[in-house]
């Protein structure tokens, strides 16, 4: 019972007049952190000074040049100056730094030091001065690995949140683009930025996102997926309700449609909410290619969404329950192929599907060079041998490969994952109840999907509930000049993208 009150006093502890005492307190706090440097010196003759910084996070050359050098060159500080005056002179006339401020809380000092700032304390001053001369190791901007596009910008987010913010700001030169900063995680204190376009994004959704993020109670956030799990509407649903992307252009286009981006430090994956199923099936280069071709690709994508979900189950249902529906000649060749197979179609499909999932997972985990040989051994050798040995039938291998390829065409990995899982449910239903079972399965999935919401937006919008005007960007991709309005199921105000009066 004693602990909480003690902690509180610890947290609110202020700096005192005695510099030595302050240093001692900070040193006990930072005991064992070998990267922290305490550099003590004298300024203005009578005053003691110290700068504290982490030598792995700070550019020491800049410190030498623009902090220490001017401090050494300062003349004698007149006796009549009080501590306030000294601080003001130091900040405004001595230290040459673009980002500089001050504070008087003891525990803030350690936080600042660990986020790469340099702390200057001078005897007699009640405030510490924070100077930002960070030097962070960062990866250069590279092409996004998980969001490839044929045509479109090649820059992707990196692990550094400021770089990511700059990539967004560069694309939207308007004061309406807001970045709200929050720290999430009790130990990690991960910098998290909510970004949106004021006036286009719905204020209630912004408030909801902010609210859900501030409510997160966890020790550390290592990746945006951690945040996603905390703020999703239905965490136990199979379907992802928040989109992640590595592409700044994707994020920006979503911001323009009234959605909200969440950037997390130390990960190249930004989150976008609210999301609907329809938006998850849109690839970024749909909008950069010619619209007719893009529409065609998109229809194919929807078609294969169905194929990836139901093809093995349809095969099972037809070959076990409704052989009559298969055209006669096809039936003959299927029967001939299945003649030697000892398993019922359901078991056969299960063996092959699970093998395929294993191969796929192995391909991801292995180093790239080895990964290819696994896929060759898996797909060619095992597939061929299994058919020749009569363990599985050739049509089943075709079906499984087709479904496997179909699940690769989704722009998002986590959406494909949900389909892959549901496929097994559908297969069991088809193996027990035939077409009727498939009907039951599709109905259950549909009912689940229509009841899902992402930050209050129905998951199947604009299909259910139907918004006719937003259908321009669902199965087809209408040309940019024809999409005069933002999607109305998300954007409530400021719906017009283009000002008609100017075009007339």
């Amino acid at each position: 019972m004693q602990m909480p009150s003690e902690n509180r006093t610890e947290e609110n502890r202020l700096l005192n007049h005695n510099l030595g005492e302050n240093i001692r307190l900070i040193k006990t706090d930072l005991d064992g952190c070998s990267d922290i440097v305490f550099r003590e010196f004298k300024i203005g003759g009578t005053y003691d000074g110290v700068i504290i910084f982490s030598r792995i996070l700070v550019d020491t050359k800049l410190i030498d040049e623009f902090v220490l050098k001017p401090l050494y060159q300062i003349g004698k500080i007149p006796d009549e100056w009080d501590s306030k005056k000294i601080k003001e002179v130091l900040i405004n006339q001595v230290i040459i730094a673009a980002q500089i401020d001050s504070g008087n809380k003891l525990n803030e000092i350690t936080e600042r030091v660990f986020s790469g700032e340099t702390v200057l304390m001078v005897s007699g001053l009640l405030d510490a001065i924070y100077i930002n001369m960070q030097k962070l190791e960062k990866r250069s901007i590279q092409e996004p690995l998980t969001d490839p596009a044929i045509r479109g910008p090649r820059d992707g987010f990196t692990e550094d949140i400021s770089t990511n913010m700059s990539l967004i700001r560069r694309r939207l030169k308007t004061p309406k683009l807001k970045f709200e900063e929050l720290n999430v995680g009790k130990i990690s204190k991960t910098k998290t930025v909510i970004t949106y376009l004021k006036g286009i994004a719905d204020d209630t959704i912004i408030a909801e996102v902010r609210n859900r993020i501030t409510k997160i109670d966890v020790d550390a956030i290592l990746e945006s997926g951690n945040i996603e799990e905390f703020i999703e509407d239905s965490p136990s649903s199979l379907f992802p309700q928040i989109l992640n992307t590595e592409r700044p252009d994707k994020l920006v286009s979503c911001l323009l449609e009234g959605q909200i981006g969440i950037l997390v430090d130390n990960t190249p994956f930004a989150l976008i909410a609210p999301q609907t199923l329809v938006q998850m099936l849109q690839a970024p280069d749909d909008y950069y290619e010619r619209h007719i071709g893009a529409s065609f690709i998109r229809i194919i994508r929807y078609l294969y969404y169905g194929v990836a979900l139901t093809l093995p189950s349809l095969y099972i249902a037809f070959s076990t329950f409704h052989q009559g529906m298969i055209p006669t000649r096809l039936l003959y060749s299927m029967a001939a192929a299945r003649e030697n197979v000892p398993f019922p179609a359901l078991i056969e499909a299960f063996i092959m599907e699970i093998t395929f999932e294993v191969l796929r997972e192995a391909g991801i985990r292995l180093p790239k060079a080895v990964g290819q040989s696994v896929s060759i051994v898996g797909a060619l050798v095992i597939g061929q041998a299994a058919v020749q040995a009569g363990i599985v039938s050739a049509p089943m291998v075709i079906i499984v490969s087709l479904t496997g390829i179909a699940s690769f065409i989704f722009p998002k990995y986590n959406l494909a994952l949900s389909i892959r899982l549901l496929r097994f449910l559908m297969m069991i239903l088809a193996g027990t109840l035939g077409l009727f079972g498939i009907f039951i399965g599709i109905m259950v999935i549909m009912i689940h999907m229509v009841s899902l919401r992402s930050f209050g937006i129905p998951y199947l919008a604009p299909l259910a509930p139907l918004t006719l005007s937003s259908l321009k960007d669902v199965f087809i991709r209408a040309p940019k000049w024809a999409m005069k309005n933002r999607p109305e199921f998300i954007v409530k105000k400021n719906v017009k993208r283009v000002d008609n009066s100017k075009n007339m």
């Binding site: 055209p327 035939g434 109905m443 009912i447 259910a464 509930p465």
Partner: protein, 369 residues
């Protein structure tokens, strides 16, 4: 508060009215003139639905089960109102009974009935636990899919070259009596009379002004859909097979054969029937539980879903000993004893009471002024 949009009302109305009717071929007892009976029934059906819509307009915000207590007083009205939820449960049982027989005759001959019932009713209950909004949204999705499948079937029938126009001629050779026998009472009670159920749902529609328009257009759409399917069935199957086969539309789809490759599409038609029956049963059960909630004045209708669904399953499995008995009850007993009184006589009485009350009001106003 759950709300549904006008488009969702439209699609649910169509799916409900097409419902299980489509499985059996509308008024097939009229033989080759079934389509005429169908058109006449649609005409009368639109009038009937207009009557319901008028009753809804004259008692704004009230659901079907609240009409009677509001007009006849609590002591007479409440027992009458209770008949409706009970009828809806029975109707749901009938629809499920139809499906049970259809599935086991067509696609799953060896699967026990109760497995089919439990699977289907579990899904319906799951949908209703999410609320009528869920059912309405799925309806909105299925409506275009169903129209698309219907168009495909029509095109395939046309290219199969199985249409014979001699099958439908001569018109009305057995006299109008034969045609009208199919209209009254079965033609106008099933499908159109049953639409009184939507009086439970109308107060939930967002745009009150559009209810009348959307409902009437939906009624006409489903009437025309059913009639056109009748016409195709007669053209392809000839009168003899149309009237005698258990599931004429199923037989019709079976006839499709395009260049030796597209054939035996009958399972597809079963899926179509399943969909419409799904909505019909779902709406029956929803109307029943929602009516019970209104009558018992409890907080949520969701507590009733499970017992009512169980009752429906029990009814579906036990109401008839054979398909023929099931049909006999549906064609001869049910319409006269339950449907005509509940869908026509009581609403007509209600109409008279409302009309008299209105006249009085008008007279009083005139007297005052």
């Amino acid at each position: 508060m759950e709300r549904i949009s006008s488009y969702q009302l439209f699609s649910m109305t169509v799916l409900f009215q097409v419902g299980t009717t489509i499985i059996f071929g509308f008024s097939s007892s009229a033989g080759r003139d079934a389509w005429i009976s169908c058109l006449i029934s649609t005409g009368i059906g639109v009038l009937t639905v207009s009557l319901y819509l008028f009753l809804m307009k004259s008692q704004p915000g009230l659901t079907l089960v609240e009409w009677f207590p509001a007009q006849f007083g609590r002591w007479i009205g409440t027992p009458i109102a209770w008949m409706y939820p009970l009828l809806f449960i029975y109707d749901a049982g009938r629809a499920m009974g139809d499906i049970k027989d259809l599935i086991s005759v067509t696609i799953l001959p060896l699967t026990p009935h109760f497995v089919i019932m439990i699977a289907l009713l579990a899904v319906i209950a799951y949908a209703l636990y999410g609320g009528i909004e869920n059912l309405a949204r799925i309806g909105g999705i299925w409506m275009p899919i169903m129209l698309f499948l219907y168009l495909i079937v029509v095109v395939l029938i046309a290219v199969s070259g199985i249409i014979d126009f001699r099958n439908i001629q001569p018109f009305v050779d057995k006299g109008w009596g034969n045609v009208m026998k199919a209209v009254w009472p079965l033609g106008i009670t099933q499908t159109f009379g049953e639409s009184i159920e939507f009086a439970m749902i109308w107060p939930l529609v967002k745009e009150e002004k559009k209810i009348v328009k959307y409902t009437l257009v939906a009624t006409m759409t489903s009437g025309l859909l059913i009639c056109s399917i009748d016409i195709f069935a007669i053209l392809v199957l000839s009168e003899k097979y149309f009237s005698n086969s258990l599931y004429p539309i199923y037989t019709l789809v079976q006839q499709i054969e395009v260049s030796d490759f597209i054939e035996n599409l009958d399972s597809i038609s079963v899926i179509l029937f399943l969909t419409t029956a799904f909505f019909k049963t779902g709406l029956h059960i929803f109307s029943a539980v929602y009516g019970m909630q209104k009558l018992l004045k409890t907080k949520s209708y969701k507590t009733f879903i499970l017992p009512v669904t169980a009752a429906v399953a029990f009814l579906a499995l036990t109401m008839a000993r054979s398909v023929l008995e099931h049909f006999e009850a549906g064609l001869k007993i049910l319409p006269y004893n339950l449907w005509v009184p509940l869908f026509y006589i009581l609403p007509a009485l209600l109409f008279i009471v409302v009309a008299i009350k209105r006249l009085k009001q008008v007279k009083q106003k005139n007297a005052h002024s």
